[in-house]
């Protein structure tokens, strides 16, 4: 969805891809993902220029990604930089390590943040072991 993309944010590309991916899910798959994740993530991403943008990944009710803060309320808000998010999405950085090193901050249900990688993996095309 092009309305998710914001210039200067690599994260938005990832999120657009995630949105495409979840849109392509069959109903059964989507229901499965919602059941597995069961949370609404609000991402506050800051890019190197200092601009900040907010996106919401709703993996509880609708299974969509949209720009802007969560409606109704986010279960967890994750604050991180553009680079960190991209690395997370690519699997180069582990979510928990990011948290430990302070690259990722959470507000709200932080245990839910660990499920973010499940969501990101659903977006990525991962080979099956």
């Amino acid at each position: 969805m092009s309305d998710l993309v914001v210039d200067g944010f690599k994260a938005s590309q990832v999120l657009a891809q995630l949105s495409n991916a979840t849109a392509a899910f069959s109903d059964a798959d989507k229901a499965n993902l919602l059941k597995k994740t069961n949370g609404i993530f609000q991402l506050q991403v800051k890019n190197p220029e200092g601009k900040e943008e907010t996106w919401t990944i709703d993996m509880k009710k609708t299974g969509t990604v949209y720009k802007g803060p969560a409606k109704p309320k986010a279960d967890v808000t994750i604050i991180l930089s553009d680079d960190t998010f991209t690395q997370l999405a690519e699997g180069k950085l582990d979510g928990q390590k990011a948290f430990m090193t302070g690259k990722l901050k959470t507000k709200g249900n932080m245990m839910l943040a660990t499920k973010l990688n499940i969501v990101l993996n659903a977006a990525k095309d991962r080979a099956k072991l």
Binding site: N20, A23, A24, S26, D29, D94, G102, K105, L129
Partner: protein
């Protein structure tokens, strides 16, 4: 990782709001939260005296600025309150809170004169309480002649206390107070947004100018008060203070629990205001409870193993027909797999075998084989459940360790990292009972995946190293280690492990696939293709490998080829007409990436894939 450590230690989690910093310094703030038992009746006791004091104070000082004067008045009043309300326990809470407020007030330097009066009025309206009519009562008793500047403030002061019980009491107490103490209370009860203050300040300023606007304001508020509903007392309509008071006095019991709860939640809501960090415990508790109560949410045991639904058998299984010729479906399935037959067919045969009660060795063999077959056929969900069942039976039958690695792999594919670690550790224990595994390792599994992976890795590495020292290369250990690294995203290390294992078992197509996936996820799609080709040469019907080739093509950017591979995989599953969801989803997504939405719409579970051949895809 310890949640507590994270919560208390994470300074970074604090919202960047200057007020939060201030609040942190002002102790005594939180004390207000502890007020759970809000008095409903004690309020009435001091009303009369309060009026007197108020009037006294009004005569005393024209300006409300002097805090010392206020403190004195307040402490007098507080003492009196204590005396009066001696019998009522709730009042002591209140006085305690009151003294806290006093202290908080004195510490508050910032003159937040902008009492969010509008905010209060709003809140006040929403507050249910037994004392509503009481508010109206004394107000009615105070004709407009009473020093009007104070009355509206007292009304606002009322709303600052969400507890309806506080009602009149607070009204009177606050009336002698200046705007500063009011502000102090406000801070004491939690922070409201700066913008609220500004707005309220502006609004507050205006009423202060003239008395007429104030009076009209009073009337507004009065009427609003009258409109507000009562919950507690049955005398909802009673406006007469005396009546209510008598009733209160006679009932002599604290408000019902539901009332308390309501007040509490309102209070918490107020306290929370704009501060998302506050009441963290409560939020977490809610979340915890919600997670556990929700029917739909997936439940995990304390070692991270998800509680999945049981295996769903295929509905149209031709082998279930008793007239069919297969006498020994289990053996037939094994034969089929051995000679590279259709994995889907083999799956059906195995299901039939299980249905008929032919479970093979130990009662688990058929299940585990079914699980592995389903996974090879790129039906992860089914495979996962079958393996869960198989492992369970095997463990009960005393053959622990069977199928565990396959199950761990399934968990990894589905993203259940902690479960995967648990399963690998169990495998290790089962397979190497003499290996030295620290109890810490087992405990770590109960925490997070991050915590456990390090320890499980060490345990496995320990075994591997001792094997190496003895010159043995145990493929299984290498595979387990490889799976562990893969789960943790260390694809290069996983690749090494699988290569080592392959040296031992060159004909194991599963291993070739695993090597391929490690390469593919490790961002080496071209190399992965080589590994997949090997797997497919050993087993041409290896649906999963075909899927993975498609994924690798996607990562390279060869969308058309990817589609062709997915379609080939789908073609292999033709026999039942029941396709793997994963295949369909990824196919759909690829079409989306190719911007062919027409094709996206075509992909349905029952689509005839010949349609795509017409579109120019060659498979």
């Amino acid at each position: 990782m310890s949640l507590q450590g994270l919560i208390s230690g994470a300074e970074c989690a604090v919202e960047v709001n200057p007020l939060s910093q201030v609040l942190k310094h002002a102790d005594g703030d939180r004390s207000l939260q502890q007020l759970h038992h809000l008095p409903s009746t004690s309020a009435h006791v001091p009303v009369q005296q309060d009026m007197a004091i108020a009037r006294q104070f009004f005569e005393q000082g024209s300006r409300l600025g002097s805090i010392p004067g206020n403190s004195m008045a307040m402490s007098d009043v507080a003492r009196q309150l204590e005396l009066m309300a001696a019998t009522r326990e709730s009042a002591s809470d209140f006085s305690f809170a009151w003294s806290e407020i006093q202290r908080a007030q004195e510490r508050q330097a910032a003159v937040r004169a902008g009492m969010p009066s509008m905010a209060w009025t709003g809140e006040f309206e929403s507050a249910h309480g037994a004392i509503m009519p009481v508010h109206v009562g004394p107000m009615a008793q105070q004709p407009g002649g009473a020093p009007t500047p104070f009355v509206p403030r007292s009304v606002y002061g009322n709303s600052s206390f969400m507890y309806s019980g506080m009602g009149t009491l607070s009204q009177s107490y606050i009336s002698p107070m200046s705007s500063t103490p009011l502000t102090a209370q406000d801070k004491g009860k939690g922070k409201l947004k700066d913008s609220d203050f500004e707005a309220a300040f502006a609004q507050f300023d205006m009423p202060l100018q003239a008395s007429t606007p104030q009076e009209s304001r009073i009337e507004e508020v009065t009427s609003e008060l009258e409109k507000t509903t009562l919950d507690d007392t049955s005398t909802a309509d009673s406006v007469s203070f005396k009546d209510v008071w008598d009733q209160m006095k006679n009932s002599d019991m604290p408000p019902s629990d539901s009332e308390m709860a309501k007040w509490e939640s309102e209070f918490n809501h107020l306290m929370r205001g704009g501060d998302e960090d506050y009441d963290y415990d409560g939020v977490m508790r809610e979340v915890w409870e919600n997670e556990h109560e929700r029917e739909n949410a997936l439940k995990f045991d304390d070692e991270g193993i998800p509680a999945l639904s049981p295996y769903v058998f295929e509905k149209n299984n031709p082998y279930l027909d008793p007239s069919s010729s297969t006498q020994n479906p289990l053996q037939a399935a094994k034969d089929l797999i051995a000679c590279n037959g259709s994995l889907t067919e083999a799956g059906l045969l195995l299901e039939a075998a299980i249905w008929k009660g032919e479970l093979g060795i130990g009662g688990y063999e058929a299940w585990i084989l079914l699980g592995e077959t389903r996974n090879m056929d790129e039906r992860e969900e089914a495979g996962l459940r079958a393996l869960t069942e198989g492992v369970r039976i095997a463990t009960e039958a005393g053959a622990a360790g069977e199928g565990m690695i396959s199950l761990a792999i399934s968990y990894t594919n589905e993203g259940y990292e902690r479960a995967s670690h648990t399963m690998l550790l169990r495998w290790l224990r089962a397979r190497f009972p003499t290996a030295d595994i620290s109890p810490e390792t087992a405990d770590s599994l109960k925490q997070s995946a991050w915590h456990s992976h390090g320890l499980v890795t060490d345990a496995l590495l320990g075994v591997a190293r001792s094997q190496h020292a003895q010159g043995i290369v145990d493929a299984d250990t290498q595979i387990a280690l490889g799976v562990l690294f893969y789960t943790d995203g260390k694809f290069d290390l996983a690749k090494d492990c699988f290569e080592t294992a392959l040296a031992e078992r060159p004909g194991d197509y599963l291993l070739w696939n695993r090597l391929g996936s490690s390469l593919s996820n490790g961002n080496k799609p071209e190399e992965s293709l080589g590994a997949y080709r090997q797997a497919l040469s050993l087993r041409p019907t290896y649906t999963r490998a075909i899927y993975n080739v498609g994924v690798a093509c996607l990562n390279i950017g060869a969308h058309k080829e990817a589609v062709e591979h997915f379609l080939s995989a789908l073609a292999l599953q033709e026999s039942t007409g029941d396709r793997s969801e994963q295949l369909l989803t990824t196919l759909r997504r690829t079409f989306g990436m190719m911007r062919r939405n027409d094709l996206v719409d075509l992909v349905k579970p029952d689509v005839n894939i010949e349609v795509f051949r017409k579109e120019g895809f060659d498979f």
